[in-house]
Amino acid sequence: MVHAYRPEPVFGVRDNLRTAWDVQPFSFTFSLVTVPVGLLAVLLGDRVSRAFSEIGEGVVSRFLGVLFLVGGSLALAGIVRRTSVFEALGLSALSAGAALYGTGVILGLGMSGMVAGPGYLAISVALARRVQILLALAEESGRDAEQIWVA
């Protein structure tokens, strides 16, 4: 087991927020937005999206809401507190949620969803790529503890 050296925290929440906004503007903003969106999806079910209303799948819509709510919260916490485990968990859930939503939009709206659907699928791919990078860094870090691996 790798015993991680943890230096004294010298950066406050404001510094971390600023760094998150400067370094990961996309992940930060997307996570921030998905928390209230996910909450709405959990509360309203398929009424939150016309695509899911067309399909008539309230359970999947609520599941999507849980993915967005939990994933967004975890990713936000991970990005702001600079904790890669939370970030990876949160972004994984968000990636799955974005894939689900993108597919739902294409299925529910057909050609009318050809902008939003592929857009969300692309977001899903980008988030998954970030998780892949984090895990690759973790793997390298575990393999060679002497090296410095930065997320």
Partner: protein, 143 residues
């Protein structure tokens, strides 16, 4: 795509996604110590970067202060030299002005003397002419 088919597809995808998310969570949690190591390294690099930034800022401020002092000293020396040169120029100008005034005065005296000599020469020439006339008249009388 029909409503039931869409419902089936999205439900199946939700199940697959749910399974994938659970697998992902397990996979990520297994690597949490490595991920924590990455965080620690990132934090170390941030701290180091912050320290280097502070050092560079302090070094730059020190260099700027030194440069400002050096420039101020140089400016002072230059101002002193300019004052010296201005004083020297004023002295030289005064000396040359006096000398030029003396030269002009000398030249004026010479011009006046020349004019006086010319007058005397004119008078002498007239007297010579008168004397020559008298001499000629005297010669004419004896002849």
């Amino acid at each position: 795509m029909g409503g039931l088919t869409s419902q089936f597809v999205i439900s199946a995808l939700a199940v697959v996604t749910g399974g994938g998310v659970i697998q992902g969570i397990v996979f990520i949690l297994r690597r949490r110590s490595d991920l924590a190591n990455v965080d620690a390294n990132t934090e170390k690099v941030r701290v180091e970067a912050d320290r280097v930034r502070s050092e560079i800022a302090a070094d730059l401020a020190s260099q700027l202060a030194d440069e400002a002092t050096r420039q101020a000293s140089r400016n002072l020396a230059l101002e002193k030299r300019i004052d010296e040169l201005q004083a020297q120029a004023a002295t030289d100008r005064s000396r040359y002005e006096t000398r030029i005034a003396a030269e002009i005065a000398g030249a004026t005296t010479l011009i006046l003397e020349v004019a006086a000599l010319r007058n005397e020469l004119g008078v002498a020439r007239r007297q010579i002419t008168i004397l020559e006339n008298r001499l000629n008249a005297a010669h004419g009388g004896t002849n």
